[in-house]
Each structure stands twice: as structure tokens, then as C-alpha cells.
Symmetry: C2
Subunit: 282 residues, 2 copies
């Protein structure tokens, strides 16, 4: 696996591959690689001739008081895992390489980012939209693969690519879960054993709401109440939001139709976790 740290290096490699007619699928990450990321790599391998990954803890998507400073960083570990799964090129740039000076350009999707995580992380999705646009422009992949766990992020990126006509196709791969259902996340590493057990409350709440829908419930507020009550039953968890939304527009649903996205954010101890479930009404 090739490890590159400069934009020039990535572009030169991309030019070579293009002349060979070889395609690239990109998996952008913030490192702290876990099985969830590696399943994105597996999916990417099905889409293109080469899988490229990026490891970049993007400062512009962290708010003041968030965990930018102590976000887990271990490039050697990430590198071994990604190489082991067949990644051909890893781009791991410095902050200075990506932001030689602060960006004067703002990329914003106000309608898609007003709700859900956007409400509680102002500026977060502007940072995501900016860095993803940059990484896509640098690597120029045919495909880019993101995880469904960050559903709002995926929706933002899909729309951004459509609106800006970026020459890339976006694939969203299913959330990978631990045996007990907890969605894999780099931030799970922050949990102590008690919190780790309590953290399953997110998927338990989502499944209870799904069961309510399967049993015939169609009222958005009633489904939201199921989510809220299950999370409230876990003393270590503090709900930030519970939402029942349209999976594309992310707008709240008063009544659900054929498809609904159930989405949650909660603090477990000091750790903020998110999860979601796409429910198809039979």
C-alpha cells in the first residue's frame, strides 16, 4: 500500500491510473479504523479497480468544546488495517496540506443541516461539506463510499455531489454493528465498561420504534415517543434528539409513508453517540 501525504502525489498517481484506464473508489475516514470502515473498503473493492482511503481528522468539522484534540489518532494501526484489507493508496495529509490558509469558501446545505445533528453541532456539516469536496477534488475517484451510520452526512454529501455536478458516484454502505447491536464508531473507544453496556440503549430504542411501526403505528410523534422512552429507561444515557424523518430530505414526518428514518443522538457518560434505522413500511 502506498502512503501519500501530499496533494501533488495523489494527483500524479491519479493521472497514471487514468492513463491505464483504471478506476478508483475512495473511502474517506478520520482514522481510528474499525470493522465499520473496513466493510466500506470491502464495498469499495466491488465498485472500482483500486480502493483508496484517506485518514484526516478534519479540524473544520469540530466545534469548540468538541473532541478534536483528543480524537483517537494512530496512523500506524490504521495503515496496517487498511493495507490488510487491500487498500492500494492511503492519503494521510497534514492539516497544513489541506488548509494552507483558512478557507474563504463556505459550502453549506442549510435545509439538510438545520435538523438532527446539525442543530447540536452548528458548523459541523459545513466542515464536512468543505473537506469532502476538497478530498473528492484531490483524489478524483469514480466512486466514494460512506457509512449509513452517519446518515445525515451521507445525505448531505449525496446532495452536494448532485448540486455541484461533482464527477463521482456516492455509495452508502450499511451500518456495521457489534454482536449486541451497538453501531461501530471510533468514539465507542471512549466508553468505560458500564457505559459500553448502557450504549446498546440506542439500538434497543430504534428496534422498539421499528416494532411499533411493524405493529401498525404511523404517527410520527407516537414513534418518537417510543424512542424517547426507551432511552429514558437507561440512567447512563442522556437523549439529545430522537427524530422520525424522510430519509432524503431529513424533514420531520407527522405521519410515515413507505419509508422512514429513525434517528437518535444521546450522550452515554461524556460520549456522544448517534445511530439510525431505515424502516420500510410493509
Amino acid at each position: 500500500m502506498l502512503l501519500l501525504t501530499t496533494i501533488t502525489g495523489v494527483r500524479a498517481r491519479r493521472r497514471d491510473l487514468r492513463l491505464q484506464g483504471r478506476t478508483v473508489a475512495l473511502v474517506p475516514t478520520m482514522g481510528a479504523i474499525h470493522e465499520g470502515h473496513l466493510c466500506l473498503v470491502d464495498r469499495a473493492r466491488e465498485l472500482a479497480d483500486e480502493v483508496w482511503a484517506t485518514v484526516f481528522v478534519n479540524p473544520t468539522q469540530f466545534g469548540p468544546g468538541e473532541d478534536f484534540a483528543h480524537y483517537p489518532r494512530d496512523l500506524e494501526h490504521d495503515r496496517a488495517l487498511l493495507a490488510g484489507r487491500g487498500v492500494a493508496l492511503l492519503f494521510a495529509p497534514s492539516d497544513k496540506e489541506i488548509y494552507p490558509r483558512p478557507s474563504a469558501t463556505v459550502v453549506d446545505l442549510p435545509e439538510l443541516t438545520a435538523g438532527l445533528c446539525g442543530t447540536f453541532r452548528p458548523g459541523h456539516f459545513r466542515g464536512v461539506a468543505l473537506v469532502v469536496t476538497k478530498l473528492l477534488s484531490i483524489a478524483q475517484p469514480e466512486w466514494a463510499v460512506f457509512g449509513a451510520k452517519d446518515w445525515q452526512q451521507a445525505a448531505v454529501i449525496r446532495r452536494l455531489v448532485e448540486d455541484l455536478n461533482l464527477p463521482v458516484r456516492i455509495e452508502v454502505a450499511p451500518t456495521v454493528r457489534e454482536a449486541d447491536g451497538l453501531a461501530m464508531s471510533s468514539r465507542n473507544a471512549y466508553l468505560d465498561p458500564d457505559e459500553r453496556r448502557a450504549a446498546t440503549v440506542l439500538i434497543r430504542a430504534l428496534r422498539a420504534a421499528e416494532t411499533a411501526i411493524t405493529s401498525g403505528e404511523r404517527d410520527g410523534e407516537a414513534i418518537r415517543r417510543v424512542l424517547t422512552e426507551v432511552v429514558a429507561s437507561e440512567p447512563r444515557a442522556q437523549l439529545q434528539y430522537a427524530a422520525v424523518v424522510d430519509p432524503d430530505t431529513l424533514q420531520e414526518l407527522a405521519r410515515i409513508g413507505r419509508l422512514a428514518l429513525l434517528a437518535l443522538a444521546a450522550h452515554v457518560g461524556a460520549t456522544r453517540l448517534i445511530d439510525n434505522l431505515l424502516v420500510e413500511v410493509p
Copy 2:
């Protein structure tokens, strides 16, 4: 010359050229082609194997009450002129092709667009930034060429390309002028003969200010006063702004150093005209 109206068509052609190792320089226009545009084509021809042009009157860069509805449109005329100057491909899409639905994505450069034309055309540069990003992503040229007459636009695009790492180089070509100094502009067609004569007041004001600088004036306010007074001497002209700014940051200069951009906007009759002059201090 190939005339294309679909994104798919442009992308297919781009793919073919890339396999042949041929490069493209793009000249984006809103049509109403004049010698100013054709000089951009000439410059583009020096930069790449093929020159491509776009003709698209971009609705999102016009404000309410601006001249979107009656902006001059004559594709046959534009086509003949561009073909005559050696353009290989003309992309002239419909509004629906570029905006199949309203963009949820906003591309904004607030610091570069607060002043000058941005003050008087709120949202204009967001429309420009959006459509240029789209056109560059669609055509994927190695170069794109813009005119210095729209200096603020060129500064915005240069910064946008840098910030988003768009894989294109931006060339800014000098303003082309009529024999009496009036900067060429599609909007000059709106002027009646008296207004046409009066319109030279913009370049006369700019040259008077340049002379003041050559004679030793370094105070921004004093230079601005020269601009204002010359424009005021023309009864058919109504000044909108006169500015002395840094050519890159577009920030007002209290005192000028090595380089200053003198910039003007004025209504002559009902027609809004802009012009500027880059002055290098000896």
C-alpha cells in the same frame, strides 16, 4: 464546432479527449459574445489543445429586478462567432439541465463578496460560485479563462478553486476596450447613442485616478475622490461605488502600496456598468 446541450454529452467527449491525452481550456460565458469574449478564446487556445466555451445565462446570479429576463440571447450569433474563432465545443445547456431542481448547496465566499459589486448585488456571487463550480465539474478542463473586467468575479473564482482544490488552473485575461476606452460588455448593447458617449466616464475616471497615483498620491480616500469627482462630472452617469482595494483580498486600502485595484460601478441611464484598473506603483 460541436454544439452540446447535455451534461452527459460533454462528459463523454471529455472522456474521449482524456484517452487521447488532449487538454481543454474552458471559456464560460453568458453569451451575447463580443470581442472581449473572443480574446478570452484566443488566450485559451494558447493554454490547451482544445478550447471549449459555454453559453448559459445563469438565473441564480441575477437578483430580483435585474435584467435576467431581457439579457441578450442569440445562440446562432454566438455560435458563429465562437466557431469562427476556433472553439471546438460549445456547451449551451437549458436551465433545467443545469438546475433540474433548486440547489440545496450554497457556495459562498463572504469575505470576498461583502464589498464592491457584492454590496449592491446580494446573492450574485453565490450564483456565480455555484454555476462556475458546476461548469468546471461538468467540463473538467485543465484551464478556465475569465476576463479581468469582472475582477471581483475572477478573484472569487480563483479563491474558490484554491479552497476547494478544484483540479483546474484559472487564467485571467486583460479587459478588452473599444477605441474610446469603454470596456467591452454585453450590457453596452443597452446604451443609446448619448449614453454610449457618456459611458466613457468610467475609464476616464479610472485613468484620472491612475494619473493621480503616478503623480505621487498614495492616500486611498484622495484617490477615491478623484474617481467620484470625474463620474459626477457626467450628468448621465450615477455612481454606485468607487473603490481602491487590494487586488487579491479586495479589502479597501487606506494607503496604497505596490499594487492597487481601482474599481467603479455606475448607472448610465438605466444600464449598470462596471470597470476597473490595476495600478502598479512605480
